[in-house]
């Protein structure tokens, strides 16, 4: 173990985000230590997706600071002033942050293995042969070696989501963001995706997971945060907060989800 005072992988301070006149995030503070899994839960429209999208700078923010692995996201601080990063710098910052979407968003014109190779070949300049070798390994890791040459349309939802996870892992991320990765799946397919995520967590990946799967949160999560109305209303060890929720709204929410 390294020294305990290491910077967290993700550090969010006083994050505010508005769309037009609607403030969606109203001051979020959150730390995700290295190797931990933070599960984010909350009602629809509470700003969970927006929170994740701010972390990899898919959304600009209105105030606050976000650091990933010690690096300020979206800005450079020079001479006591913030300077917006150029697009190329943003791309560089996004590279080591994987993102998995509710609706998979696999590239439909490429096969499973080509989807996994796309990032390394296009963004990292990896040779096709090397990328193919890595992609083969990753597909094996998510249990889809035999589907390498299938197009997304020929795969089940669970299989597509596992390819999407492999596609993110191909960039060798240090942080993975999951936005309701199992919400679009038929119930019998949820477990195969959660199993892959469980393995990933066990391998020490730092993860932020927006989910309604309380079983997963209880079993894999190191921290659970409940977001409502753009603020974190309750947080703590998932096993404890799920067993004895203090906040009324959280209790009501759990009553609806469980």
């Amino acid at each position: 173990m390294t020294t305990g005072q290491a910077e967290p992988m993700v550090k969010i301070r006083s994050l505010r985000k508005r769309f037009g006149s609607v403030e969606v995030l109203k001051g979020i503070d959150l730390d995700v230590p290295h190797g931990q899994v933070v599960c984010v839960v909350g009602p629809s429209g509470s700003g969970k997706s927006t929170l994740l999208r701010c972390v990899n700078r898919m959304e600009t923010i209105d105030s606050g600071r976000i650091w990933v692995d010690g690096e300020l996201m979206g800005y450079a601080e020079r001479g006591g002033r913030l300077h917006l990063l150029a697009p190329a710098e943003l791309c560089r910052q996004r590279r080591p942050i994987g993102m998995v979407f509710q609706r998979f968003h696999l590239f439909p014109h490429r096969t499973a293995i080509e989807n996994v190779m796309e990032g390394p070949v296009t963004v990292l300049g990896t040779s096709r042969a090397e990328a193919r070798r890595q992609a083969t390994e990753l597909l094996e890791r998510v249990g889809l070696s035999d589907r390498a040459d299938h197009y997304p349309a020929q795969l089940s939802g669970g299989q597509q989501q596992r390819v999407a996870i492999a596609r993110s892992l191909a960039m060798r991320p240090k942080l993975m963001l999951f936005d309701e990765p199992t919400s679009a799946l038929d119930p019998e397919l949820v477990q195969e995706v959660l199993a892959v995520m469980r393995d990933l967590a066990a391998s020490g990946m730092t993860m932020m997971v927006v989910t309604h799967e309380m079983g997963f949160a209880r079993e894999v999560g190191d921290q659970l945060v409940f977001v409502d109305g753009g603020v974190i209303v309750e947080r703590g060890d998932p096993r404890e907060v799920l067993a004895a929720p203090k906040n009324d709204r959280f209790r009501t929410f759990l009553g609806q989800v469980l």
């Binding site: 898919m58 791309c91 968003h105 960039m171």
Partner: protein, 316 residues
């Protein structure tokens, strides 16, 4: 043993339920009489026969002249110019269209405005006027050069009269006009791609250009290709407008010939026959390409290769 299809398998020997033999119930229904259709078809056929007869026996049409000019060297030369004009102006128009479409969808209001001005102006003025304008551009800008803008010194300079031949004027007019229409088609194609695709690509760390080239445009092609085929077929005929600036394409050549031999109708028919041949070939090509694109979501390159495999040389 006779197996009846009544399903009661009482006669099954070894106690097993006998496999049910499906009942055949062939349908040999009699169509109701449809006298209207028969009469309609008869009338149409009669009309076609009459039309063919009057055309064929008509002495004013000079079929012998038509046949003798169909393969005339000048006509074939004009045909070649028509093909070149079509292919080049479509290719340049496609590039301009992609550029304009990408500018139109950008966040930068100046780029958006420039693109909007371009499509607004060139779709808003007649092509005929544009062609005559480009041909006479020398009246406005007697010389072109590369150098410092706003009347600064020039590195190279050309005289408009040397640069602007009927062919280059035609190419300019057709390509720039086509670009304005292609911009709309490409834009519709790009907008048809799920925004989630762009997000997934950006999350991998791709730049705007990479997102466009690797993810968005390949998927937009499915929507872009069919109308582009229509534009191509229509361009084959639109090139005939170039005859107003004596562009040496098919119609111009036909006109030049009939000014000499006064076979106006015959020459127009010769030109029309070639236009029909060209558009027919293009339609067949379009049908082929569209069918390939409707099938699944596979990438064009991979699919074209797969489809060509049966025609490739037999492996040794």
């Amino acid at each position: 043993m006779e197996v009846t299809s009544t399903g009661s398998s009482a006669g099954s020997q070894d106690g097993e339920p006998s496999a049910q033999v499906p009942v055949e119930l062939p349908i040999e229904a009699v169509r109701p009489p449809r006298p209207g259709r028969v009469i309609g078809a008869g009338v149409a056929l009669l009309f076609l026969v009459w039309l063919a007869y009057t055309v064929i026996v008509n002495e004013n049409l000079h079929w012998d002249v038509i046949v003798s000019f169909l393969m005339d060297g000048r006509i074939l030369g004009g045909l070649w110019v028509t093909i070149q004009l079509t292919v080049f102006s479509m290719a340049i128009g496609l590039v301009l269209g992609v550029l304009a479409a990408v500018m139109q969808l950008s966040d930068n209001p100046v780029l958006r405005g420039t693109s909007g001005l371009y499509t607004w102006f060139f779709r808003g003025t007649p092509l005929l006027v544009q062609l005559i304008f480009w041909f006479n551009i020398g009246l406005v800008f007697p010389s072109f050069g590369i150098g410092v803008p706003f009347d600064g010194p020039k590195l190279i300079e050309w005289q408009a009269n040397e640069l602007i031949t009927p062919f280059t004027a035609a190419l300019l007019g057709l390509a720039i006009n086509e670009g304005a229409y292609m911009a709309e088609i490409v834009r519709a194609g790009i907008r048809s791609v799920d925004p989630g695709q762009r997000e997934a690509a950006e999350a991998l760390g791709m730049s705007h250009g990479q997102v466009l080239r690797r993810v968005v445009l390949p998927q937009a092609m499915r929507v872009i290709i069919p109308p582009t085929g229509n534009q191509f077929i229509s361009m084959l005929k639109t090139t005939s407008m170039v005859s107003v600036i004596a562009g040496a394409e098919l119609l111009t050549v036909a006109q030049r010939i009939y000014l000499g031999n006064f076979e106006v109708i015959a020459m127009l028919i010769v030109a029309s026959i070639w236009y029909v041949v060209l558009t027919t070939i293009a339609s067949i090509g379009q049908h082929f390409i569209e069918k390939r694109f409707e099938r699944g979501h596979a990438a064009l390159g991979a699919r074209v290769r797969r489809n060509l495999r049966p025609f490739a040389k037999e492996p040794a």
